[in-house]
Amino acid sequence: MLSIKNLHASVEEKIIIKGLNLEVKPGEVHAIMGPNGAGKSTLGYVLSGRDGYEVSEGEVTLNGKDLLDLEVEERAREGLFLAFQYPVEIPGVSNMEFMKESVNAMREQRGEDPLTAAEFLKKAKDACKQVQLPLDFLKRGVNEGFSGGEKKRNEIMQMILLEPKLCILDESDSGLDVDALQVVADGVNSQRDGERSFIVVTHYQRLLDYIKPDFVHILADGKIVKSGDASLALEVEKSGYAFLGKAYEEAEA
């Protein structure tokens, strides 16, 4: 599915990712944890192709395609989905209009006909129900005036509609209470079908109680410094990142 080899990336000439390797196979859930400033969010931005995030070394392929060679929207159409930590508010563009364009762009990529308004509406309503977003959120400006929790649920709603191959969830748990966390996690879990892969980026282990990872990686100072199974997350939960020793100190420096 996704293969990252020796990735180096920088923002404004500051090197953030320093030789990252990761292999994600179809259907797998990988959690990436790490202290603040380790480069967790940067990884999502680099993979999605955000302007200003320069890759200086390494390679990334998605289903065999050179991801780094593609534009942002092409990566999305290849099946990459990034759920934002801070979803962007776009007043004046309705959620519905936005998602209809997105869904139809994906369909075009797959050689399918665009959905009619009625067909789309039905799908969108179902997706809203799944994440417990009131239907009038479809008519509102994208994320405009949404609470933190509503924004996160809106991200998952989009993910359900777009049916991506690889989902990167960037701190989808931050700012959520337990109930909202459950809704987000249920939304994600409903999309696990043995084919779709997930990278769950989080600071806390809490989310992983709800979304069970196959692998847990600790990211510190731009590299994965330790990998393991779900028990690694519990270890972090118990003793913090200090157990990483040298790598942690570097990240803090």
Binding site: D51, V72, G92, V93, Q158
Partner: protein, 418 residues
């Protein structure tokens, strides 16, 4: 003095019932002459395209196809190259409303016309004066007290050949009456149109107003819409401007009564190399008035938008609420915006706000949309059109909304982002 203005002054005739106003305008034109280069009112809007023109007035015009607004069941009054081509006396005028040409013999009607002609529009506007002096074609719309006229009246100015067109619209809304008036203009050939409209809105009356100033190319338009608001009257106005070689609108809203409420939304979409200038002045002369003005525009490559929004709150205008906002989006480093919101307050118990912003393409929102696979060109339209669309959605008339949205988004979609 410019060659053109000299010819204007020479060509003016003072032989009708409007002579006193025409005479006053001529005197002001002679005394003030052509604006100097550093004249504040024209400093960002060069008048060179008019300066060396020769005055030419059309005496007759053919009927030409009038741009349609789908599903809008309006009563159309059409001027072609400054000539009124609609037979006013054949119109099926809604009950409670009277429409006459300015060329009338009846003394009572002449008197009613003279009570509006040049009485709402301030005398300072250069091309307003020219229109005062020269306009021969115009209509007077009189709405009786208490009449609620829902059928929109659409006044269309079409520029089709190289002449000067001076048309006038005068509207008198009686007490507690209401009307919907649309002023629409278009043309792209070398031409000059001064279309001025004056609205006298009596106590408790309501005017729904639109001005679609869609002149492009070498069609020069210099016009204005001017409103006098009496006690508890309300105005809801939407302006839409395209740019051309020279395009300028002057708007005045004068709160002459208490508790009046004026709302104006203005939209401009300027394609490559176009110029559009909106000067608006809001006079709060009386207490308890409310004004809300939102001007929003998108400025393309090498285009220029000029916005001057002045709110003047007189000493007696206590408890005024006035807000004015101008938002701009630049599509290119070579686009220019000259924006100047002005607040002048002499009363001490008022709430006022003004502001102006100039933005470039929102990188973060664009990125967000791209990560959802939306094509770049479509994302740009959806994103950057949102703030314009808000004003389109704010228009009270659904048929006009449904017509305008695709027209404007199409225009924007063809504007290049550089």
């Amino acid at each position: 003095m410019s060659q053109w203005l000299e010819q204007v002054i020479d060509g003016a005739a003072l032989d009708d019932y409007l002579a006193p106003v025409r005479q006053q305008a001529l005197t002001q034109l002679k005394n003030d002459g052509w604006p100097k280069r550093r004249n504040e009112s024209w400093i960002n809007t060069p008048l060179t395209p008019v300066e060396k023109r020769n005055v030419a007035i059309a005496t007759q015009a053919d009927s030409v196809p009038v741009p349609n607004i789908d599903n809008l069941n309006a009563l159309d009054i059409v001027f072609v190259d400054g000539v009124l081509v609609t037979q006013i006396n054949t119109l099926d005028v809604p009950e409670g409303m009277a429409i006459t040409s300015l060329n009338v013999d009846d003394a009572a009607t002449q008197q009613a016309i003279a009570s509006v002609f040049g009485q709402v529009k301030p005398t300072r506007h250069l091309f307003g004066r020219v229109n005062d002096a020269l306009c021969q074609h115009g209509v007077f719309i009189n709405v009786a007290d208490g009449a609620k006229v829902t059928k929109p009246i659409r006044i269309v100015n079409l520029a089709t050949k190289n002449v000067d067109a001076h048309t006038r619209v005068l509207v008198k809304l009686g007490n507690a009456s209401s009307a919907v008036i649309i002023e629409q203009g278009s043309g792209d050939t070398d031409s000059l149109t001064t279309a001025f409209a004056e609205y006298d809105i009596a106590d408790d009356a309501h005017l729904e107003h639109y001005r679609f100033a869609m002149f492009t190319g070498s069609a020069k338009q210099l016009g204005g819409s001017h409103f006098m608001l009496h006690d508890r009257s309300t105005l809801n106005s939407t302006l839409v401007g395209y740019g051309s070689e020279l395009s300028r609108l002057d708007v005045d809203m004068h709160h002459a009564g208490e508790f009046a409420n004026a709302k104006m939304n203005a939209i401009y979409l300027l394609a490559e190399g176009e110029l559009f200038d909106l000067h608006s002045t809001i006079e709060h002369a009386m207490p308890n008035g409310t004004t809300e003005e939102n001007a929003r525009g998108i400025v393309g490559d090498k285009a220029r938008a000029v916005f001057n929004g002045r709110i003047h709150i007189h000493r007696d205008a206590q408890k005024t609420l006035a807000e004015l906002n101008n938002r701009n989006l630049l599509l290119s480093r070579r686009g220019v915006i000259n924006t100047k919101p002005e607040l002048e307050i002499y009363a001490d118990d008022v709430r006022c706000a003004h502001g102006a912003t100039v933005a470039e393409i929102e990188g973060e929102a664009l990125y967000y949309m791209l990560t959802r696979g939306v094509p770049r060109s479509k994302a740009l339209v959806m994103l950057n059109f949102g703030f314009i669309q808000e004003l389109i959605n704010d228009m009270p008339n659904a048929a006009i909304r449904d017509w305008l949205l695709p027209v404007l988004s199409e225009r924007f979609a063809h504007m290049e982002v550089k």
